[in-house]
């Protein structure tokens, strides 16, 4: 076994890993970025990005053969013909579901930054203070004032579009121009925003799509095909935004097909010394050493890695001394809301396929509102004219029918809520030694469910949207709850939470593992609560902040 030395090692190349790579290399460190899957080169490897829709044999759908190959992925939209290559193989990388948990993974350079939904929102102090105020789990060790400059920093680089709204529950940021609401959305927004006041409002969605050229990247072309990889680099991904800057320094070594099997730990120095890596192709093991290690392998995989490390000191793994490693798994519960039809706009249309929609920031349990449950939810939705799909349910066959269905249909509007899931010690992951993946490594067992708080919230998630639509003149309003299982939100969070006390948390306020100060964990596993907003922007900010801290500590010879 050979050993190679670097200043820093970053495990994972997704949203968090890309940021760690960029920040650490730009601060002068020689950085090894380890990615368990294959490389996907920006633009060149987006093989379907410019394919016409009719060129897919099943027009983007799914076959039974695909369903057999992907028993988990098939449970929701990710299984499809257009970007199947971007999703991890359920067969190669199985896991154990103590309770149903949908785990949608991206095992390649860029990780899920290639396929993410791009919605980008800040946490507010309502979120950072909630645990402490309500006596739920543990307090976040940071407040908005500490992370706000880092939100500024990452937004300026990543390019986030949005409108300035001055809503305290959803802080404004360093925005590119917003993607406008369309006529249907604006009509409803104008009415609803008057009726429901300043705290419950429809605003343009904030997303990591460029509304103007930025950082050498072209502006959004409104193709709405982001999930194929963007040939214009017009949305934020590791490929388009962070890794190119890391590469430009000449200090990054990016190594695909490198599965990190454990963090190497020196119990005398109380420091990590490096990582052990299995080559995913030939199963050869290599050790790499570094002064500082960033775990950005995605929430559950970073936790898996910690659990497998330093077990000679702590049987539960590195960071387990608190008893909280692997616990407090969270997601956002969604797929509940309402929709309806809009009248009086048949002379209006739009042009372009906007990869965004409207947003309604959280208003429940804020500003004096008090519900039977804690926390709240935000809505993501959109309005548009129906297409040919309406024809399936309509009466008609023949030429007139065909010509009518070729025209735009009526306007519809709808939204789903994304609700906060409370941190709960009982929602946990552990290592299942009885089941092995393709590389012979034991897999994770996931034991997670929503509780009474989430179930109570799901009623409001439906009723409130119906109330807003009805009040705004929308017709034929219907509520829906399409069902939810943890993981479907693809917002896994927790399992290595930050905190103020090593007895109750895995990481300190700078994302340092209490028991190994040169190991930083900056992906979703660090989250002490989930809030109800999409979390990726917060991972970016926490990663940039932790990288800055780490380099300062290195320079001070504290780590």
């Amino acid at each position: 076994m050979q050993t190679q030395e670097y200043d820093a090692i970053v495990v994972g190349s997704g949203i968090s890993g890309g940021w760690a790579a960029k920040e650490l290399t730009e601060k002068g460190l020689r950085v090894l970025v380890l990615e368990r899957g294959k490389n996907i080169e920006h633009i060149k490897d987006y093989v379907n990005a410019t394919k016409a829709p009719w060129q897919y044999p099943h027009r983007g759908g799914r076959t039974r053969a695909m369903e057999e190959m992907y028993p988990v992925l098939k449970r929701d939209y990710p299984l499809n013909e257009t970007n199947l290559d971007y999703w991890a193989s359920d067969r190669d990388s199985p896991y154990t579901e103590v309770k149903r948990f949908d785990w949608y993974r991206g095992y390649h350079v860029g990780g899920r930054s290639l396929m993410w939904g791009r919605q980008s929102y800040r946490h507010s102090d309502f979120d950072f203070e909630a645990n402490a105020k309500e006596g739920v789990a543990i307090d976040w060790p940071i407040r908005y004032a500490e992370i706000s400059p880092w939100y500024d920093y990452v937004e300026k680089h990543a390019g986030i579009n949005g409108s300035h709204e001055g809503m305290p529950q959803l802080p404004d940021g360093q925005f590119l121009p917003p993607m406008q609401l369309n006529c249907g959305e604006q009509l409803v927004a104008d009415k609803a925003n008057k009726i429901f006041g300043p705290h419950r409002r429809i605003i343009p969605g904030r997303s990591a799509n460029l509304t103007q050229a930025h950082d050498g990247r072209a502006q959004c072309q409104y193709r709405n095909a982001c999930w194929l990889g963007c040939p214009y680099g017009a949305y934020f991904s590791s490929q388009s935004s962070t890794l190119p800057h890391a590469a430009k320094t000449g200090k990054m070594t990016l190594k695909p097909f490198a599965i990190v099997s454990e963090v190497l730990y020196d119990k005398d120095k109380k420091r990590a010394t490096g990582v052990r890596v299995m080559d995913a192709i030939n199963n050869q093991m290599t050790d790499y050493s570094a002064k500082v290690i960033f775990l950005c392998a995605s929430t559950l995989n970073s936790t898996w890695l910690l659990m497998r490390s330093a077990t000679n000191v702590w049987p539960g793994g590195l960071g387990s001394s608190s008893g909280e490693l692997g616990h407090n798994l969270m997601d956002h519960h969604f797929r509940a809301g309402a929709n309806g039809k809009l009248e009086g706009l048949d002379d209006k249309y739009y042009f372009g396929r906007r990869p965004n929609g409207f947003y309604i920031p959280r208003y429940r349990n804020l500003f004096g509102d008090k519900r039977q449950y804690l926390r709240g939810f935000g809505y993501q939705g959109g309005a548009g004219r129906e297409g040919w799909g309406r024809a399936v349910a309509e009466l008609g066959v023949g030429g007139q029918f065909k010509d009518a269905m070729s025209m735009p249909g009526g306007w519809t509007i709808g939204a789903t809520a994304f609700g906060e899931m409370l941190p709960n010690h009982a929602n946990k992951v552990s290592i299942d030694q009885t089941k092995k993946d393709k590389w012979g490594m034991p897999v994770l067992a996931i034991d997670c469910a929503i509780g009474e708080n989430e179930r109570a919230m799901r009623r409001d998630m439906q009723v409130d949207m119906a109330e807003l639509l009805n009040a705004s003149g929308v017709k034929e309003v219907q509520v829906y709850d399409a069902g939810y299982f943890p993981g479907m939100g693809i917002h896994e969070m927790g399992t290595a939470r930050m905190g103020r006390d090593p007895k109750t948390s895995v990481l300190n306020s700078h994302n340092q593992v209490w028991d190994a100060p040169n190991v930083f964990v900056t992906d979703g596993s660090c989250m002490a609560s989930a809030a109800c907003v999409n979390p990726s922007l917060t991972y970016m900010a926490l990663t940039a902040r932790a990288a800055d801290f780490a380099v300062n500590e290195l320079n001070r010879r504290n780590i």
Binding site: R64, R75, Y349, F351, G352, Q462, V463, G483
Partner: protein, 232 residues
């Protein structure tokens, strides 16, 4: 385009007994409605999962072209919709649906013979259209019923809420909307529409397709022309 709920609906514990009964009832209703004498006994094993023959594809082309004929824009046959339908049934349908679809092809032909004295391929365009209109009416009535049921459920949910009854301990599972089985004509119509409107002809001639719009106009006057086609 894809049904996000497919995975959920397949999860066995989510289908309540009542829903299971409804499924069967609807299935029988669907078969009974579609007419013909061979229906009750029609349990012949179809070539589920196998490729369709050229003759079968030609037959599907004619069905699709009856639903979506040439007008000022080319029709479903020109867009090779029959071959697409055949591929989708073979590759994407569950065996039970594949069976229903292939049986349906025969039932449709039988219905044509019953009604017109000749099979579907020999029937005139007017005879074909009249036959499919009957079948379409049946499937439409069923889907209207489903829509009305969904609306009623939604209204009940909201009115319960207004009477401020305590929230029932409803589980997520019981809220998952059930999707009843489809009759064969519904399958044919769905596949013909999907095949046609996502084909090159359907996207670029029947609809307007702009690969790279380059901008977003959120609100413009509607010009009376065909819809913008989406992306894959």
């Amino acid at each position: 385009m894809t049904d996000n709920d497919i995975g959920l609906l397949e999860t066995p514990e989510l289908i309540t007994r009542r829903e299971a009964v409804l499924r069967v009832t609807a299935l029988l209703g669907g078969i009974a409605l579609t007419g013909g004498t061979a229906l009750i006994t029609g349990c012949r094993q179809e070539k589920v999962g196998e490729p369709f023959t050229q003759d079968e594809i030609a037959y599907l082309d004619e069905i699709a072209d009856t639903i979506l004929p040439t007008t000022s824009t080319p029709g479903a046959k020109a867009a090779k919709t029959g071959a697409f339908m055949a591929l989708m049934v073979k590759d994407t349908y569950e065996p039970k649906d594949d069976q229903i679809f292939r049986e349906g092809m025969r039932k449709l032909d039988d219905a044509s013979k019953d009604k017109n004295g000749v099979g579907f391929m020999k029937a005139t365009p007017q005879q074909r259209l009249a036959l499919l209109q009957d079948l379409d009416r049946e499937q439409f009535n069923m889907s209207e019923q489903r829509k009305a049921d969904a609306k009623r459920k939604s209204d009940e949910f909201l009115s319960e809420r207004q009477q401020s009854q305590p929230a029932p301990a409803a589980t997520t599972a019981t809220k998952i909307t059930e999707q009843p089985p489809k009759g064969y004509f519904r399958m044919m119509k769905e596949l013909a529409l999907l095949g046609y409107f996502t084909s090159e002809i359907g996207m670029t001639q029947a609809q307007r397709y702009v690969e790279s719009p380059g901008r977003y106009d959120p609100c413009i006057p509607y010009d009376g022309k065909p819809a913008w086609a989406g992306h894959a």
